[in-house]
Amino acid sequence: MSLFSELRRRNVFKVALLYAVASWLLVWLVNHMIDGVGLSAWVGDYALLLIVIGFPVALIFAWVYEITPSGIKKGIDVDQTQSIVYKTGQKLNAAVAVLAVLGVAAVIGEQLLPEFVRPVPVPIEEIRLKPVFDFSAKAEVPREITSFQLPNGLKIIVWPDHDIPNVALYYFVRAGSRNEYPGITGIAHFFEHMMFNGTKSRGQGEFDRTMEAAGGANNARTSNDTTVYMDWFPRSALETVFELEGDRLANLAIDPDVVETERGAVYSERRLRVDNDNDGRLFEQMMATAYVAHPYQSPVIGWPSDIKNWTQQDLEAFYKTYYAPNNITLVFAGDVTPEEIYLLADQYLSPIPRQHPPPEITTVEPEQQGERRFVIETDAQSPLLHVAFHAAATDDPETLQMDLLLAILAEGNSSRLHRALVEEAPVALSVGGMQTDGFDPGLVYFYMTLPPDGDLGDAEARLLLELQRVVENGVSAAELQKARNLRIASFWRGLQTINGKASSLGSFEVFTGDYENLFMIPERLTAIEPGDLQAVAAQVFRTENMTVGTLRPPAEGAAE
């Protein structure tokens, strides 16, 4: 027999045809599943590969084996007089016919029916843009945060974050206006300036030149409670920064000539922030009036006469006591490892000797016994109103509750005060509320800017009415949820950058004693109830607990 007829007898051609038709159908199906249902494209390629590999296998199989009543056997093993290849052949014909019909139907159907393609984008309400982030997960303390303390008392916290090749360093010196007394007010803030003005081995300006030449930038700020130094630099400048910081923490030069020039700069700053700024001026007077005993009464920048009269002795004593490693906490966030920070700290910061701890501040502001108020008359196109109440310290539990209440009262255009005082009745151009941060009890502080013809008495009355509303009727669950959401959003915003991470971690460590408390915030927020806010409002918003300061142009007889 010829090869050709043998191929035919063993149904190889029919198997080939069946295989081809079946393959075509399979490929058609897979393609439609890829387009229509989103089946991964690789399935199609894989299927095609299998089909191509399978074809010669199928042909060989057809040649070698035949179907018999007792199963599939090798053709050579089958008695050719018993062979049913003919029947098998008919079955194969039938199978090919069936598949061919299916194939034709598919092709015709494809033309007649609407195209089976990916669905058209649906209206936004029906699209679920799921966040990839798992919101249900509790905010846990990130495991990569490490902290350690050097033998000299210096505490260091490291939060590795390798998203950008940069580092943020915040260090907190527990020295603020709180640590001052009449005669040396403003001295803590003065050191914020002096720390940039040279050490025993580096001249004035060298610190900044070196840091900026290495790609870094820096700043500092002083508050009632702390002086915070901030460096932002690329990873490559890490050792340079350690060398610079170690140097100025141990060897600051307090040069009398430099001191004189810097007094001038501080005066310039006072002029900018207080003397020529009506809000700053009013704020300074408010603090001095609300506090009668506690050092929070004096301005961070200092009273002019004190600025003028600090002595060399005052300065040296202050630096020695407060810029001591046992009084400082460092926080690194960014492209670093705890190991390398430890090694560099050991090298550059361990040698700095520990000092006696600074004296404790024992003055407690006595409870306010009656309303306090004052008026500043000065050139002002816009009258100002500030109203303050004594409240809690940063670490007290009521502070977070008041934080939420302030969000409801004063945060944004939907807040109660904005609606009542700016939108519904144009009493004020702007209104805000905040509470001061601190180791000791601070103030809840409202501030308003009025239009040129504004009525201060009316503004005050309306503000107090809104506060009284909270005391009497509390807040709604919806408002509380909004406040929670605002705080949660602000929690996450604070952790978006290495700068925010260093700042948040450091603030919590210094003001609450443990940086891990930062990550308790979301949980604590959930536990707060509307009743808590009403209670804290009743505690704080009392007239005998209130200080009111206004700033306005001099009255000229006619109503101004």
């Binding site: 984008p121 649906v122 209206p123 936004i124 699209i127 843009l129 799921k130 966040p131 990839v132 982030f133 919101f135 090749p165 940069n166 004035q204 300006g205 900044d208 030149r209 070196t210 900026e212 030449a213 290495a214 790609g215 870094g216 930038a217 932002w232 630099f233 690329p234 490559s236 400048a237 001038g264 700069a265 002029r271 003397d275 020529n276 700024d277 009506n278 002002a380 196109q381 816009s382 945060e411 255009n413 939907s414 609606r419 700016v422 144009p426 151009l429 239009p451 040129p452 919806a478 909004k482 605002l486 705080r487 949660i488 959003a489 996450w492 915003r493 952790l495 978006q496 950058t497 700068n499």
Partner: protein, 465 residues
């Protein structure tokens, strides 16, 4: 010697930049109606930042109607879609989200930042603001009156905030770039409800919309959502305004804004600069960093560190699409005004004469490279950058090639750039806000003086605004 070695090593260490400045991956999609989408995923925190830009801005404000675009930007969120102004603010704040809108010279922009679980609401609110704002007469009048009052408040307590308005008006004269973006008391008072409705019809549309979104979402899903929401927005009625480059106005000249009794003088000194697409941008940034762009700059060293005349002095190269400005900005006690200005001019002269040596170039380069990555660290800042690139017809190479451009700068190319971009000392425009009684005689030496009162209701000395 050890010190010099230390400095050299520091410079060298900083100079070993293998990692370049690059924009993270993003996808650009142009829809059929001309809207451009820019999308990038970012999952470090559960936030999404969005920046939507409508090309046009206050340079498109009609003559006499400065402040129109900015006022419109304020009003589009005072009621949009089905929500009243209060409901709109409540909807965003209720989920801890933030939305704001404003106009600068060349675009109205909307910025939004929401927790990623509320991103659908964010898209809905921004879409409503842009495509279905209510623009009620009542809200318009409230915003207009409030804007006027805010200008008056600034004149009283913080006049430095008004410097850009005075300075741009004086540098550019009647050109559109001289329009105060926020308007003036006089121009705002002229605005009518019909004006903002007309501006909206004329200049808001899908053909000039850019939407950049970065954050915790799935890119394909976000693309589909934004396409469905913005893809059908019809074009604005009028063509985008085309700006001609401004005509040169003779210098030197002085604008003295009188604030009687002022204890401080605020001053800007400069002139027209260069545009966003200036080819030697790297050279300009290097020069400006050294001149007045960081704490150890020439200006800060002279005016603060060495003489104690001021708390802050800097130089800013502001770049728009057609051109820009370069200005020295500072302030000082009234009595030391002339001394400070003379010193600033002297430093500018030094910049022209000496340029930058290799050590300064390396230092400035390290500084720029070192300070750049944090500027793109958040979803919102990246969205802002992507929208900016698109607005100015730039692609990612504007950033990606920047590091190489910085590395390629030489003292010669920088000197050429300084000559081109910075005004010389006899070609300066001076803008001062201070006590004219004390200053007017002495500032006359800088050039012909135009004096206006800070109480005057316009920022331009000339009538037309």
């Amino acid at each position: 010697m050890r010190r010099a070695l230390f400095v050299a090593l520091t410079l060298l260490a900083g100079s070993a930049w293998s990692a370049d400045i690059t924009v993270p991956d993003y996808e650009r999609v142009e829809l059929d109606n001309g809207t451009v989408l820019l999308l990038s995923e970012k999952h470090d925190v559960p936030l999404v930042g969005m920046r939507a830009i409508i090309r046009g801005g206050s340079a498109a404000d009609p003559v006499d109607r400065a402040g129109l675009a900015n006022l419109l930007a304020n009003v589009i969120q005072k009621g949009a879609g089905e929500r009243t102004a209060a409901e709109f603010a409540e909807a965003a704040a209720g989920v801890g989200g933030a939305i704001s809108a404003s106009s600068d010279l060349e675009a109205i922009s909307v910025s939004a930042e929401f927790l990623s679980r509320d991103v659908e609401l964010m898209i809905e609110l921004v879409a409503d603001m842009l495509m279905r704002p209510t623009l009620s007469k009542e809200e318009f009048e409230k915003e207009r009156d409030r804007s006027i009052a805010l200008i008056q408040a600034a004149k009283g307590s913080d006049p430095s905030r008004l410097m850009p308005a005075y300075a741009n008006a004086f540098i550019f004269g009647n050109h559109a770039y001289g329009n105060p973006s926020g308007g003036s008391e006089a121009s705002l008072a002229e605005l009518t409800h019909e004006d903002i409705q007309q501006y909206y019809e004329d200049f808001f549309g899908g053909d000039r919309l850019i939407v950049a979104v970065v954050g915790d979402f799935d890119l394909e899903a976000m693309k589909a959502a934004l396409t469905s929401v913005f893809g059908g927005w019809a074009a604005a009625a009028e063509k985008s305004p085309v700006l001609a480059p401004p005509a040169l106005i003779a210098a030197p000249r002085v604008l003295l804004v009188d604030k009687p009794g002022a204890t401080q003088t605020y001053f800007w000194i400069g002139n027209v600069g260069v545009a966003v697409d200036y080819p030697r941008r790297a050279e300009l940034d290097l020069a400006n960093t050294v001149f007045g762009g960081r704490f150890t700059s020439m200006l800060m060293t002279a005016l603060r560190v060495e003489s104690g005349l001021t708390y802050g002095a800097r130089s800013v190269a502001e770049r728009f699409s057609e051109t820009g400005t370069v200005t020295i900005r500072s302030f000082t006690e009234t009595s030391t005004t002339i001394e400070a200005i003379d010193l600033a001019i002297n430093v500018l002269d030094r910049l022209h004469i000496r340029g930058l040596n290799n050590e300064l170039i390396a230092s400035a380069r390290n500084y720029i490279m070192g300070q750049f990555p944090p500027t793109l660290e958040t979803a919102s800042s990246l969205a802002r950058m992507l929208a900016f690139l698109e607005q100015h017809g730039q692609d990612r190479s504007y950033i990606d090639e920047y590091g190489a451009a910085l590395a390629a700068a030489t003292p010669v190319t920088i000197s050429n750039t300084i000559a081109e971009a910075y005004p010389t000392v006899d070609d300066l425009v001076f803008v001062l806000i201070g006590d004219a009684e004390v200053l007017r005689e002495d500032v006359a030496k800088y050039g012909p003086v135009t004096e206006i009162s800070i109480i005057a209701p316009r920022f331009r000395p000339q009538p037309a605004e």
